[in-house]
Symmetry: D2
Subunit: 305 residues, 4 copies
């Protein structure tokens, strides 16, 4: 189970489909193995970049089952939903099957902070006291801005909220604010893993993040950066990171980046087919040539590392 | 089947739940009968105010089955979804069972007009050439603004798009623009039914709308207004409408109004329980006292009509 | 000066222009007299519906001067601005000239509650301790949702914030929440005047609002409704209100309603020219015929009141 | 004057203030010289990152005068405004004084494409046929999404619109689409300079952009990248770019990055004081230490280039 001290890299896993649009379970196995071989600490499945909102409930169950059957690594499951009951049903399914935690983003409705707060109280009540919950703070996507004070209040009032998936942007000072409060004492520690494709990872680590929860198609870059940083070598960590930054920032383009990510994973042998489900992004021949060039440049820069 | 000349009142149906949160099928029967007794032309189920996004697919199937079993009126089914495949599966299910049309709103993603256009082309391709489709234009809720020119282009290029559910606001000139183009000739007629709880119905009819597709808990008000207007009595239509306007505008408050609507339907005997699914709105004692007073005022004003 | 007990109707004043687009000062005089004759308690100038963001600073100064020279009624001046310094300069100008208060909406930038809070602290610091400030809570326009708790905190921490211009929607429970806290004691009273064109005025008064701050072109309707309500005749107040509701709801259409309002004011002799400044809304011949009909219906319903 | 073939780097200039918040004209001179020494093709002043919306009209005039007096490089002036008349007044002032072009973003109001189109027609009519206009397409900031088809239509219908400031994201395919249309013939060429802090510059150049219009505090990086690319050395261009990418992506954080940029400009001797006008971002001691480290790393990587 994840807890308030969890650290490392939880990779946001893509959901592979075949050319007919069906979930490709064989590729799920391959992808899990690929992530494990890269040294990730855990996986997060059915997040936004896992196209969860285009999967039926049955498909989500099947994806959960398959991933949990393939790995002993801790697996966090995205369960964001417009309705509390469906959210809780999926969450309880995942926990029963062995998930290590559940990730929830405030749904599109409750943009006002008091409504976000009620929503998380209701969700945690429905999930029960044993469910470890990750609060996904991603206002660029949810359109729900959240103050550090509300994050702290949720962390204090709800024992289940053990982790922040931090991807507000600009968001570096949110980390500093939360860690400064903890240093003063009297509040519970919150695990903080960061998102946004890893775009600010070295800075986030220096400010007190425990690692990353994001989905870059070169997971070894995230793993290496976090490992070196936590080993007390921040400059080496950032040198490593910087070599991957050109393609990382290319993949991190909102929405469209998912197609970049899946193509890269296919090129690297991790999945069989790069398709997203409609109406997802598709790469043109120009996009692919551009990406192939960036992949080649990345390979040249990182060879032998 | 709905077509480009469909007119009248298609009532947006609430989805009744019991106190445990389960779909209340007996109340579905009662509610369908209530709407039919009010003289509606048809029903629209599983729309936004039908809390469709809080129902599982199985529940949506069951609601479709129950409603279609209860009535011979034409039934439009809301099938908006983040993914084209799920949208098409639900749409085909509904059409197989006897639905008269399908309603689609542009999903949150594709806010740019070229993306909205691609989305509807893909959706219509997936649904097939026989599916009559209602374009729901509700930017206040979808955050997707759409020009009259795009509506016209979709209507021209896609034979399936036979109806506009008009609820842009301000939107009166959208109706006038579309009707003026049709009067000039060379374009296909589009049926236009209006939403927004009916708040501007007399003006919309005068500008060429064919009726209403919305969910006011006094459907007889919408039916009477449309009937009188189409009988050539616009002043009588508006006099009737104005008597209901105070409670209509109260019910039309975004989001919260659903709780007002369901309570009113319960008070009128149309459903057994007024609950919405969490995280939906709930009425306080103050809200209920306020609403009871408005219902009583409405009753006094409309007695014997 | 406005204070925490101010009540009544502060009419949001239009800014009249002539056909060349210049501020029409003679019409300002006429409009002020028209509002005064309708019995308003005060005026609010240079609000959103006063097209303040299309006036230069010099024009804003001239409008302030002209209005204050014409009337002894209290005048609130809208001073919302992207920059604190400009906001404070305009505010101090207005107060020096005799304004009774200043109205500020959170600017587009600071959507997060902690940023809204900092913004108002900075604004109040720049304005000084003597400036009475109205917090304009209008998320549909500003895109800045604000919890009741933040409004209370601003009211408690900043002595200058004496009034809430309430126009969140749905917003009736915001009034109830704030008044319930005051009834429990230990917090400062806040004057609450409501906006949204007056669309929910009878309900807002019943929940504890002190009156209206909005701009309906029949100000006598707002004045009469508030007066009767405060005289202990809520049903008579609402009967009066309901007669104006059809045209009130027509005028209240977001953005476009300003053209309706100015045309109505022109028709009633309050201003010489109905033009808004580009890119403002313009009425078509259809719009005008529709509006003339609504004005005539309103006249017939309210004759002799 | 800019035209449809303009290329190179137009640096978005910061507006320097002193510690009292006043415009620092001596620093304007220094900053203009700094940019010129870096080899920029031109300057763009009074853009969003020039804090134009916090300057009075008098201050904007004074900034225009000072910059134009200091340099013979072409200067584009941002004139975005809620009102057409004020926009045209400022635009005509700038052109009279010798500006090379005017930049306009669709204002917050007209999110629907037909309204954006009307707005630009009205703006160009008010500015007159001789005004060269840059369309700023920055939906992340304006909240106004724009299809490639509308950009093309504006370019075709309005001779004045000679340049696109491209900063939609993801936006690479917008460039490809526009260039493919031009390659097919029958449409006017549009100069395309790209923004977003330069984050995707090498890819944008490869897709047909003519250069950059953005404000990175190491303008020599933008200049060098564009120069090498246009000299037929795309790999050398990207190698150069990649060395600056870590600090470029740090500076590019929305909103907050302006404080990073101004601090960096101060550290490099280009301006005397890094302050932004309230309510602008301010750096903490942690922010500054982090930034100093990034500046040092950048210096080490790019030494002697």
């Amino acid at each position: 189970m994840i807890d308030r001290h969890t650290s490392g890299v939880f990779i946001i896993a893509a959901t592979p489909f075949d050319a007919s649009g069906a979930v490709d379970f064989a590729s799920i196995d391959r992808l899990v193995d690929f992530y494990a071989a890269a040294g990730v600490t855990g996986l997060t499945i059915l997040g936004m970049m896992g196209e969860a909102n285009k999967l039926t409930i049955e498909e989500r169950h099947a994806v959960i089952d398959r991933v949990l059957a393939r790995t002993d690594l801790p697996v966090v499951v995205g369960v964001s939903d417009a309705g509390i009951a469906n959210l809780a049903d999926l969450g309880n399914y995942a926990l029963d099957k062995g998930a290590a935690g559940l990730m929830i983003a405030p749904s599109a409705g409750p943009a006002r902070e008091d409504r976000v707060e009620s929503f998380f109280h209701a969700a945690c009540r429905a999930l029960g006291p044993e469910a470890p919950v990750v609060f996904q703070d991603f206002p660029q996507s949810t359109n729900v801005p959240v103050s550090p004070a509300l994050i702290r209040r949720l962390s204090q009032d709800l024992d289940q909220i053990v982790m922040l998936k931090h991807e507000d942007c600009p968001g570096l000072n949110k980390i500093s604010t939360l860690r400064a409060e903890e240093a003063e004492g009297g509040v519970k520690r919150l695990s903080i893993l960061t998102g946004n494709g890893g775009l600010y990872l070295p800075q986030e680590l220096a400010r007190g993040a425990d690692g990353a929860m994001t989905g870059f198609a070169f997971p070894e870059a995230l793993v290496g950066t976090v490992r070196l940083f936590r080993a007390g070598q921040p400059d080496a960590a950032e040198d490593l990171f910087d070599r991957y930054l050109p393609i990382l920032r290319h993949e991190q383009q909102p929405g469209w980046g998912l197609a970049v990510r899946k193509y890269t994973l296919m090129r690297r042998g991790a999945i069989a087919c790069a398709d997203t489900r409609a109406p997802g992004p598709k790469l043109t021949a120009t996009d692919i040539a551009e990406l192939d060039r960036l992949i080649a440049r990345t390979g040249a820069k990182t060879k032998g590392m």
